[in-house]
Symmetry: C2
Amino acid sequence: MKLIADIKEMQLFSNATKKTGKTIAFVPTMGFLHDGHASLLKKGKEVGDLLVMSILVNPAQFGPKEDFTSYPKDIKRDMALAEDNNVDVVFNPAADDMYPAGFQTFIDIEKLSNRLCGLSRPGHFRGVATVVAKLFNIVKPDIALFGGKDFQQARIIKKMAQDLNMDVDIITMPTIREADGLAMSSRNSYLNKEERKAAICLYNAIKKARDIFDNGVRDADAILKEARNIIKREPLAVIDYVKVCDIDTFEDLDTIEDRALLALAVKIGKTRLIDNDILG
Amino acid sequence: MKLIADIKEMQLFSNATKKTGKTIAFVPTMGFLHDGHASLLKKGKEVGDLLVMSILVNPAQFGPKEDFTSYPKDIKRDMALAEDNNVDVVFNPAADDMYPAGFQTFIDIEKLSNRLCGLSRPGHFRGVATVVAKLFNIVKPDIALFGGKDFQQARIIKKMAQDLNMDVDIITMPTIREADGLAMSSRNSYLNKEERKAAICLYNAIKKARDIFDNGVRDADAILKEARNIIKREPLAVIDYVKVCDIDTFEDLDTIEDRALLALAVKIGKTRLIDNDILG
């Protein structure tokens, strides 16, 4: 496994790879890897000739009051997991190289970024889109893989790739969950024992919504009321949003015709967790 | 010479070209070509193995009250000029293919876009940056060439390429002028006989500024006063801006230390013309 920190070196490596006709699969991460990332790496190895994974805690996607400085890190464990998953290149640039003094270029995906998490995290998706575009221009992947827990992020990146004619196939992989159903996230490491127990309310809310939907209910408010009640019963949980919305536009739905996205963001103590499911 | 209108076909053609190890030089245009464009094509042919020119009147860079619908067109003459200049591929996409329904992704170069022309044309450089990024992702050039008349545009594109790690060398070529000094522009075709005569005031203002600078004056206001007076004496001319500013940041300068950008935008009747020169 090759470790590259220099941006130009990564670009030259990718140029050389592509000239041989080999395809590049790419998994961008912020490190502190879990089984969700592992599932992306496994799929990446299947669909591409060469597998590149990046590790960068991207300052541009954190708000001023968010957890950029405390975001968990364990580069040793990450490298071992990358090695175990047959990663060919780990690209690990310095944040200062990615955002040198005078940096001022940002990509906005306007409508999709102003819904769901975009409302409580202004600028977040601008930061995500910008860094992903940068990484795509450096790594030059044919295929890039993103996790389904961050449904809105994956949708926004797909939209960016489509709108800007990026020649990259975007694959979204299913959310990987802990044994009790909690969606895997690097941020789960913030939770203390009590909070960890409380955090299961997100998945329980999803299960409840799915039960009601499976019983034939199509009225969004009826579904949402029950899902929110599950979370409200948990003293450590504070709802940011629980929404039933159009799977493509994220616009609120009153009635589910065909299928819908159930998306939720909940604070457990200081930790903001998200989860989602497709109803239909 | 090959003519390609389909985005995917252009992308596949560029992918195939790059696999052979050939480099691509790219000249993006809005058509209605003049000798300024010809100079870019000549240079492009020198620096790249394959020369691609695009023609697209880009709706995203025009304001609602600007001349998008009346922008001059002469595709027959453009094709002949492309042929004369050994263009290998003319890429001529439909605007609706470039901006399909639901398009919502835009690139902002924040500081540089909020100065000079950015102030009188809000959203203009966002539209320019966005279409250039799209064209880069479609044509995949190694080198792209831009005209020096649009100094701010060229600077912004360079900054975008740098900030987003686009693997493209940006070359800016000197402004090409008519015999009397008027900078060549497709928009010169809007001018009637009287306006065409009046339009020389832009170049006269530049010459005046350069004279004063060459005589040792370094005070920006003193230079600007004389340059503005030249334009004010022309009854058909209305100043949008005349500025002496930093060549990299476009911030106003009080005193010219080393060198500076003299930039001006002037309306001659309904036609907005720009020009610039480097003092120093």
